[in-house]
Amino acid sequence: MQAPLDDEALATAFASKERWAFEEAYTRFGTLLYSTAYHVLGNAEDAQDCVHDAIARVWRSPDAYNRARGALRSFLTVCVRNEAITRLRAKARRTRLHERVAAEPQEHDEIAIVDVVEHDRLRAALNRLPIEQRQPLELAYFEQKTHVEIAAHLDVPLGTIKSRIALGLRKLGTALGGAR
């Protein structure tokens, strides 16, 4: 059978809850979604659970996605990433609660190694940003900090941090070929 539809048509069918579109969306974007979850969570088992739960929730929710929300690929990627961040923060809270902070560095080490060695394209694009935009963007993307935490960490006013992150993300998206 021919590749039936482009991403636009797939998104329309997904928004209409057509079953084949749900399966086709995973077939097309599964690698990106799994990779996104893995890079946040640092292990395969958690990444699998995260992708499954995030996609299933979007699928079951009648209003989660409509065409006004933009590209299905981007929407699902952000859903999966935000789900992964929520899980990571919950795990960190549990770890702190049980005073097992020593268990944390193991997973971050794995992520850190991947970041340095294998993210050349992303790193190269980030390195072209001014440091005042790159720093908060890296803290948000790689360390999953909130803008309040980033502002405190860098000792910069909240509004300034927000605008620097937004500007940096726009530049980075353009550099990486994000659709505009």
């Binding site: 599964g30 990779s35 006004a68 929520t86 993210h119 937004a166 993300l169 980075l172 990486l176």
Partner: protein, 213 residues
């Protein structure tokens, strides 16, 4: 309306908002087209970042889990006015009572599906149409003489089945008929005539219909 989301679009897409701020962004974007576009662009930028990282092949069992996800409830057609909805519902109920039709003794799930597809029912009930049986499958297709809509009904379906349009030596996916009770149905509003439809299961054609216009 609340203030536009502005730079919060980037923070939302990056997962960098505080939990209590997320709902406010989503609520505003759902009612503001400009902010919805802003959010979509920020999400595209974050997706571009994610795609620039090392890509990992997901384990096959993840696909199995994803594909085992139950069907989503079909969204109600919100644009249908109350009067027309009631009319369509009446038509759906009337159709359900026709003893020779395929809606006889349907399950509650099928009834829900009929409500959700009230437009399709209204079409069948009120519009002139033709009907052709599929060969190789206990199924039929009702369609408008001008090709503006099609309703495929598959009886005895135990699992979702894809419906395709065969043309120019290719099969174009039209949608999936999902069973409710013993009947799977697919409503296809279209703008063109499709003279050959096929039902597919497990990657192979299990039923074919030749439509006449």
């Amino acid at each position: 309306m609340s203030a536009h989301i502005g730079d919060d679009a980037a923070l939302y897409a990056l997962g960098a908002l505080e939990p209590h701020e997320i709902a406010a962004v989503e609520a505003h974007a759902s009612a503001c087209a400009a902010c919805s576009r802003l959010l979509a662009q920020a999400e595209a930028d974050v997706a571009a970042m994610a795609a620039a990282q090392r890509q990992l092949t997901p384990p096959p069992e993840l696909a199995e889990r994803i594909f085992a996800t139950p069907d989503a409830p079909t969204p109600l057609r919100r644009s249908v006015s109350r009067a027309s909805w009631i009319g369509a519902l009446a038509a759906a109920i009337a159709l359900a009572l026709v003893p020779t039709a395929y809606f006889y003794e349907q399950s509650v799930a099928m009834h829900d599906a009929m409500l959700a597809d009230a437009n399709a029912m209204a079409r069948v009930a009120s519009s002139p149409h033709r009907r052709v049986a599929f060969t190789g499958q206990n199924a039929s297709v009702m369609y408008a003489p001008d090709g503006s809509w099609y309703v495929v009904v598959i009886r005895g379906a135990k699992h979702p089945m894809h419906v395709t349009w065969a043309h120019d030596g290719e099969q174009t996916m039209l949608g999936t008929a999902v069973p409710h009770g013993d009947v799977a149905m697919l409503y296809l509003p279209k703008s063109h005539r499709m003279d050959q439809l096929a039902i597919m299961s497990g990657g192979r054609v299990v039923g074919q219909a030749q439509l006449v216009f």
